[in-house]
């Protein structure tokens, strides 16, 4: 029999008993839906973590003074000035894997504007490169320039939370705010980033030239800085940048071979890699747990197909009597099983996608702040459809073979 005819006969047979077909493939439906949902959830988790790392900055290394080698933090004795702004400049100039750097000094202070006040989580003194390094964008106005940094200009850009709480959400470019009673002109507003992985608001921030923060807000006479943000040229060059920065700083700080570093480089790529591995493992693990239910669904198909072969013994006899070969019968039942399981798979995909969408909406509605991304994996869909089809083929083979081995005379006599 022609393949398309076989397919049509199979579809007919399924269509004649939709209720049973539905129950037969229920296991496959649930199995595929489970695979789709679990893979989607774990990939969403992975994506969210990835997005969080992206929002921390573009391939960012974070250098702070003090050593973390050999356990614990060893501050250099006598609180020597260890990390200075020129270190940051030197990294940009001398480390090929480094794209840009920015010194960072942080301050804690209340902001005042008119009769409002507000305490931001972060007041960062940085340079003109930080916008790129930190993966920020300006929503309105401008970011400060190298000249502003050089001149220690009293300008700043602020995050959305600060705008909302200090300035009542109004268009405030050009407004003046006071940090420790020093007037700063707001020259730009940052594009909001939302909460980070730990639910912390990233938009409760003020960025100003580090020179201004250092001299005018902190009133410090030392030229040390709190940290250096380093942006590597590419994600896969972060370790290289790490090594080059370490090398350079040891040289600049005159650290001998046997001595510990007086600084620490935090490399987020290590954490990102570990998290990546964890989410991949989680995806595979959840996917394979769910696919066990697919196999169970296959057993269900085998079960019903066996019943169906017995019930349709006379039909098989009739087909044999009018000239069906045993392989025609085998094919008919095999195709029926595969079509059933693939249909079940398709329903499972639809169902799984709906559940994944629902779960994402629910998560975003219930957990304020963090935006849980929706990922529907095309791979998971294709793989689980193919897997469902194969399950049908595998578990349909035995009943189909049994059908094809029937004796025409006995089948015709079967009541």
């Amino acid at each position: 029999m022609h393949p398309t005819l076989t397919l049509r006969v199979a579809l007919r047979a399924i269509g004649k008993n939709k209720m049973r077909a539905g129950l037969t493939v229920l296991g496959i439906v649930i199995g595929v839906a489970a695979v789709i949902v679990l893979v989607s959830v774990s990939q969403s988790a992975g994506l969210m973590i990835h997005q969080q790392f992206q929002s921390l900055g573009t391939n960012v290394l974070f250098v702070i003074p003090g050593s973390q080698q050999g356990g614990g933090i060893h501050l250099p004795t006598g609180s020597i000035v260890t990390l200075v702004a020129t270190d940051a400049d030197a990294m940009t100039a001398e480390c090929p894997a480094v794209l840009a750097t920015s010194p960072m000094v942080s301050a804690r202070a209340q902001l005042v504007a008119g009769n409002q006040n507000w305490s931001p989580d972060q007041i960062y003194g940085v340079n003109e490169k930080y916008l790129t390094i930190g993966n920020w964008r300006i929503k309105k106005g401008d970011y400060f320039t190298a000249n502003d940094v050089h001149a220690a200009a009293k300008v700043c850009v602020i995050g959305k939370t600060v705008v909302d709480n200090l300035l009542g959400g109004m268009d405030c470019v050009g407004a003046t705010i006071r940090i420790k009673n020093i007037p700063f002109q707001v020259i730009g507003i940052l594009e909001p980033k939302g909460a980070n992985l730990f639910g912390q608001d990233q938009d409760n921030i003020v960025l100003a030239p580090y020179t201004t923060i250092k001299k005018r807000v902190s009133g410090s006479t030392f030229n040390n800085i709190d940290a250096v943000f380093v942006s590597a040229r590419a994600t896969d060059r972060m370790q290289e940048a790490d090594d080059q920065v370490t090398q350079l700083l040891r040289q600049r700080h005159h650290i001998r071979h046997s001595t510990l570093d007086d600084f620490t480089v935090h490399n987020s790529s290590e954490v990102a890699n570990v998290l990546n591995i964890i989410t991949t493992v989680m995806t595979l693990l959840l996917g394979s747990v769910a696919s066990v239910s697919l196999v169970v669904g296959g057993v269900g198909i085998m079960n019903i197909m066996l019943v169906s072969v017995t019930e349709r013994t006379r039909e098989i006899g009739i087909r044999l009597a009018v000239g069906a070969r045993s392989r025609d019968i085998l094919r008919q039942f095999l195709v029926e099983a595969v079509v059933l399981s693939t249909l079940g798979g398709a329903i499972g995909v639809a169902f799984g996608v709906l559940v994944a969408i629902g779960a994402t909406c629910a998560a975003n509605a219930l957990l304020s702040g963090a935006r849980w991304p929706l990922t529907i994996s095309l791979n998971a869909i294709v793989v689980s459809l193919v897997f469902a089809g194969s399950v049908g083929m595998f578990f349909g083979y035995y009943p189909a073979r049994k059908a094809s081995k029937l004796d025409p005379i006995e089948s015709l006599r079967y009541e």
């Binding site: 029999m1 039909e315 044999l320 009597a321 009018v322 069906a324």
Partner: protein, 244 residues
């Protein structure tokens, strides 16, 4: 050369310890275009012989030449092809696919021969159903048809691939006398007009009388083979007397 040539056909069933000899050295020649009634008491081996003729079964020993080809040595696929192309089978209980309509039932052998495209297939099915007077019932399911109509659908199906041989095992067994007369008229017409060789098993002498030749089986053996209906009935009474 005869269309059908059976030589010393034996069929033995093993039922545990007991051997049942359904056919013992049955020999029979049937020519193209003959109309043969096969009679005999219950259990005499008629159905077994028909299954043999219809290539549904294989003898324990003996030879069966169909159109000069030895069927006994054939593979099951080759026999399936013979059933499809050379033989039309009509059963006592119709054996229609219950959840398919008349059209699809008649189409079934054409699907397995696969030499016609869908359009030509439908055309052929329509022609066949017209021949048996059921063109208007094409989309009826068996349960929506009377016994006589169902049997006529079955006959149309048997004729789908224009086989030279039509085998009917008690085709009127489940029909009342009126409808069975209609079916017999159809058989007669097929034999006369289309030259189809018909072999028919029946208990009913009124039915058997339509045939031009009668073969009587008894205990798996051919005990009478005659064109004289009177002699055949006499032989039949004798077997029934001998084996009440």
């Amino acid at each position: 050369m005869p269309l059908i040539q059976l030589r010393d056909i034996c069929k033995t069933y093993q039922l545990g310890e007991v051997q049942v000899h359904a056919l013992r050295n049955a020999s029979l020649n049937i020519d193209r275009g003959e109309y043969v009634a096969l009679m005999g008491p219950s259990g005499s081996g008629k159905t077994t012989l028909m299954n043999m003729l219809g290539c549904l079964d294989r003898p324990t020993s003996g030879s069966y030449l169909l159109d000069g080809e030895e069927v006994v040595d054939m593979s099951s696929d080759q026999r399936a092809r013979l059933r499809n192309r050379k033989i039309g089978f009509v059963f006592q209980n119709f054996n229609l696919l219950s959840r398919t309509n008349a059209l699809e039932n008649v189409e079934l052998p054409l699907l397995y021969s696969g030499h016609l495209r869908a359009g030509r297939r439908r055309e052929r099915v329509r022609l066949l159903l017209r021949k048996v007077g059921l063109e208007s019932r094409m989309d009826h399911h068996p349960s929506q048809l009377s016994g006589g109509q169902q049997q006529r659908v079955a006959i149309a199906r048997a004729l789908a691939n224009q086989p030279p041989i039509l085998l009917a095992d008690e085709p009127t067994g489940n029909l009342d006398s009126h409808t069975s007369r209609e079916v017999m008229e159809l058989f007669g017409q097929l034999n006369r007009e289309d030259g189809i060789t018909i072999i028919l098993v029946t208990h009913d002498q009124a039915v058997a009388r339509n045939a031009l030749r009668s073969v009587v089986l008894h205990d798996g053996q051919v005990v009478c083979d005659s064109t004289d209906f009177g002699r055949a009935t006499a032989a039949l009474y004798q077997t029934e007397g001998a084996n009440p």
